[in-house]
């Protein structure tokens, strides 16, 4: 039984069709990497999964149950689906620890002491245990992004979504974030990532989804897609990013 199933998702913004009859299913422990040009619909698809966007047509199933799009339904859903944003979106007025414990104490109702312990565990997983008391503004971009990952991780979600989380980082800070992602994947987390990081996609993803003009253009194991792309669009895309993918 797949953790997540998207069926026939379509979404339009005005006259622009962002998503056109997209279907996807994700099994437990699977790592799915979504790649494609800007405007291909990748981020919109991701945002449809946890309710940040509402599809015009189609269904989203989480754990074989149709997703309830009421305010209460989405609130319940987001306890099980975590998301990490491109611009981290940490709460600037709260310490790192409080950023992480907020969801635990307020949404999950945990006592503060337990929440603090879980925050410490999550930070250890991203290698930032010593930054518990720091404020976000004191951290580098890569560190802030790792805190954002820890914040989602601490909620112990069944599925984690990542929206181009390295795109806003300086190149030298990307590595530390990728390492965290690799570790999460190795530990069996179910992940859906929109990414430009082809090395990571090739190394860690179970399934690669190539999107183009709002449709799923090609789908399959990364090794197969990179070695033998079936469509001209994927060939063009790979050639465009090949210098990056090659090293």
């Amino acid at each position: 039984m797949p953790v997540l199933a998207l069926s026939g998702i379509s979404k339009r913004f005005g006259r622009h069709t962002a998503l056109d009859d997209v279907s996807l299913s994700v099994e437990a422990g699977e790592v799915v990497a979504i790649i494609g040009r800007s405007g291909s619909g990748k981020t919109t698809l991701l945002r449809c999964i946890n309710g940040l966007e509402v599809p015009d047509q189609g269904d989203v199933f989480f754990d074989d149950r149709h997703v309830d799009r009421s305010r209460a339904g989405l609130q319940a859903l987001r306890r099980h689906i975590g998301i990490v944003f491109q611009n981290y979106n940490l709460f600037p007025h709260l310490s790192v620890e409080r950023n992480i414990t907020l969801g635990l104490t307020e949404a999950k109702g945990l006592p503060l002491a337990d929440a603090k312990e879980q925050a410490r565990v999550a930070l250890r997983q991203v290698g930032l245990e010593d930054k518990l008391a720091a404020m976000p503004a004191q951290l580098s971009g890569g560190q802030q992004q790792r805190v954002a990952i820890a914040r989602s991780l601490a909620m112990q979600p069944r599925l984690m979504l990542f929206d181009e989380i390295t795109s806003a980082l300086d190149p030298e800070l990307v590595g530390e974030v990728i390492d965290v992602l690799a570790r999460l994947a190795a530990n069996g987390m179910t992940m859906v990532l929109v990414t430009h990081e082809m090395r990571f996609a090739r190394a860690a993803a179970d399934t690669l989804v190539f999107m183009h003009q709002g449709k799923v253009w090609e789908k399959g194991p990364p090794a197969k897609l990179f070695a033998a792309p079936a469509t001209a669009e994927l060939v063009t895309f790979i050639n465009a990013i090949l210098p990056v993918a090659a090293d």
Partner: protein, 223 residues
């Protein structure tokens, strides 16, 4: 009978300053409570609430303060058959006035918080009031302090209009003094100086807070 302007006249004027300060504080606190409710109402999804509060704000921001005072004075007598004194009338009128302006300022502060903060907190499974309480309002409060202090200056100056309906605050005291001493060019500059002493420190505080907050939160100021 003409009095000459001396120490006792000066002290009389100074005593009236109490009323200016008291009126300003009462209106600021009362208006603050009202403004808070208005700001929250303006940012909910209820269209009715938003329209009602928008009308309230437009009514008090789009009409002269003097008219508001007159209407309150005479409206009360007419609608409730009760002749109220100057003090409760101006206190209530200025409270409503402050509520409109503060509500607008604070709504602006809430809306200045980026949508991404709403999204990030929603994705942590927080409910609407939890989002407001832990994420949005703390940040909004911080950036609302400079314009709120700026409004306090506007309020202190505005209380001078109460003089026209006969409430004896600083400006009215000045008028009364001029009527017996016939020295307007001594008294009115003095009155102005007292207002300046009250307002200028607040203005400077508001400006320095604004600079500090811009630097600290890295907020870009647009024109």
């Amino acid at each position: 009978m003409t009095r000459t302007f001396g120490l006792s006249e000066f002290l009389l004027i100074l005593a009236a300053v109490r009323w200016t300060i008291l009126l300003s504080l009462v209106a600021f606190v009362g208006g603050g409570i009202l403004g808070f409710a208005v700001a929250i109402a303006r940012t909910t999804s209820s269209r009715v609430l938003r329209l009602l509060t928008a009308a309230y704000i437009q009514a008090f921001q789009g009409t002269p303060v003097l008219m508001q005072l007159f209407l309150f004075y005479y409206g009360f007598a007419v609608l409730f058959d009760v002749q109220i004194d100057a003090w409760p009338a101006v206190a209530m009128a200025f409270t409503l006035y402050s509520g409109a302006f503060l509500g607008e300022i604070w709504r602006g502060s809430i809306e200045a918080i980026p949508q991404t903060q709403w999204e990030a907190s929603a994705c942590l499974s927080l409910g609407y009031f939890q989002q407001l309480r832990f994420v949005i309002l703390p940040q909004a409060m911080r950036i609302s302090i400079p314009p709120t202090v700026g409004f306090l200056v506007q309020l202190v100056k505005g209380t001078s209009i109460a003089a026209i309906v006969g409430f004896v605050e600083l400006t009215r005291a000045g008028q009364l003094m001029v009527n017996v001493t016939f020295q307007p060019m001594v008294i009115y500059p003095l009155v102005a100086a007292i207002y300046f002493a009250l307002c200028w420190p607040l203005s400077r505080l508001s400006r320095s807070l604004e600079r500090r907050i811009d630097a600290g939160l890295g907020i870009k100021r647009h024109l």
